[in-house]
Symmetry: C2
Subunit: 244 residues, 2 copies
């Protein structure tokens, strides 16, 4: 499984992804699921993947390759004029990879599906996020739905729904995301540390912060440990139940 969140604030975009991949509980490893294309001053595009690893690796490889060989027929992710066109390109490439796999040849019992969050900003446009489906189509964030989750989304969703605010600082957003990831990691063995983290500030056209939260990260540990107490205290602050 996987857990990735992409979130739009008034001041910019924040991305967080876990790094665990597994094919059964006895076969797991650490793999990066966050990828970035940057043309400083002109565009920053960040992409996170969930689903079949062969599919998502082929997707990234094709996007990479085609951004380096301009003679390739398919246009480069570095040259699409808008984020909408970037999303269309990623969607078409994802669909192409899945179609290639599911055509002739031996069939696997597991499916080859994958989902993608892609976000960023291209000069001349606004920063935005898209959620791309295995079918190649996609939806964009809105004021009413300002974040996307892919993978194991349920455990970490209630805290995001309750505590997200478009005016959050980057620091408070990271703290919120760490709580959301911690709830998920505690509940599903197939989501695991380290976490990749990226911040993009509006109209900067460069990555503001990119870092990896390792399993022994002192700050993550302190969040994980204090959140249980904080939740219990929050419960105690609620009005008490009185029996009839």
């Amino acid at each position: 499984m996987t857990y990735c969140v992409g979130l739009r604030l008034r001041r910019g975009l924040v991305f967080m992804s876990d790094t665990r991949t597994n094919a059964g509980v006895d076969n797991f490893s650490t793999t990066k699921k966050m990828f970035t294309w940057e043309v400083p001053g002109e565009r920053v595009i960040t992409l996170m993947t969930a689903g079949n690893l062969a599919t998502t690796q082929a997707l990234i490889s094709l996007l990479e390759e085609r951004s380096k060989t301009p003679s390739e027929r398919s246009p480069s992710i570095l040259e699409r004029p808008t984020m909408f066109e970037v999303a269309r390109l990623v969607g078409a490439t994802l669909k192409e990879v899945i179609a290639d796999t599911t055509g002739a040849g031996p069939a696997a019992s597991s499916r080859f599906k994958a989902s993608v969050i892609v976000g960023g900003q291209v000069k001349g446009g606004l920063p935005t996020l898209f959620l791309i489906y295995p079918e190649g189509n996609f939806i964009e964030v809105t004021e009413d739905a300002p974040f996307f989750q892919i993978g194991e989304a349920k455990y970490g969703k209630p805290i995001l729904v309750r505590a997200y605010d478009p005016d959050l600082s980057f620091e408070d957003t990271i703290r919120l995301l760490m709580v959301s990831f911690d709830s998920t990691i505690k509940a599903n063995l197939s989501v695991g540390l380290p976490l990749d983290l990226q911040i993009y500030a509006n109209d900067s056209f460069t990555i503001e912060e990119q870092s990896r939260v390792e399993a022994d990260d002192a700050y993550y540990q302190s969040i994980s440990e204090s959140w249980g107490d904080a939740l219990r205290n929050a419960l105690m602050d609620l009005p008490p139940y009185k029996r009839a």
Copy 2:
């Protein structure tokens, strides 16, 4: 879908279930999913169901019918000597219902599976809870795993994991469960109010409290409204993130 939780405390058992059933988002209604058999002074047995409604209704009807006709070959739920034997009876009856449905005749695209939480106390034994699978086998609560959830379990699990304590009072447990149900109801349309609630105190052999939390219940509303603020305050109490 459905959401039910059965929870063992040092002082007794607490059960909560929602009441929404649906076959598609345009076809839903309110159905009780909590059922009780009581022989005051001798036994209290409470059962909650999730899954195919035809299956769970048939299960309850068979258990009811067989508790009223002593000549029926299968033994009555009111006469099994221990909670373990009650769980075996419920498991066998559930398996029988599913086998009857999946035999000859037209096949449905949806499956006939159901899961059950059964708990209570029979004189001479301890109060306990079992989670019964569609295959008819079951597991029992332990010190390490002191509660069971069936149905849409993920959204409401993190708060249970963090805030459950075997020494909780019944009142604090109900408050905790309401928060867990509220998180689920906010995230999944197929889980809905009203909620059924039941409390059993150890060695009382009678139901201590049984009530229904309606959609306009003032206490539930106050919990639902204050929990967002409480969570945001809890987040603010966590150590702040400092960027490198």
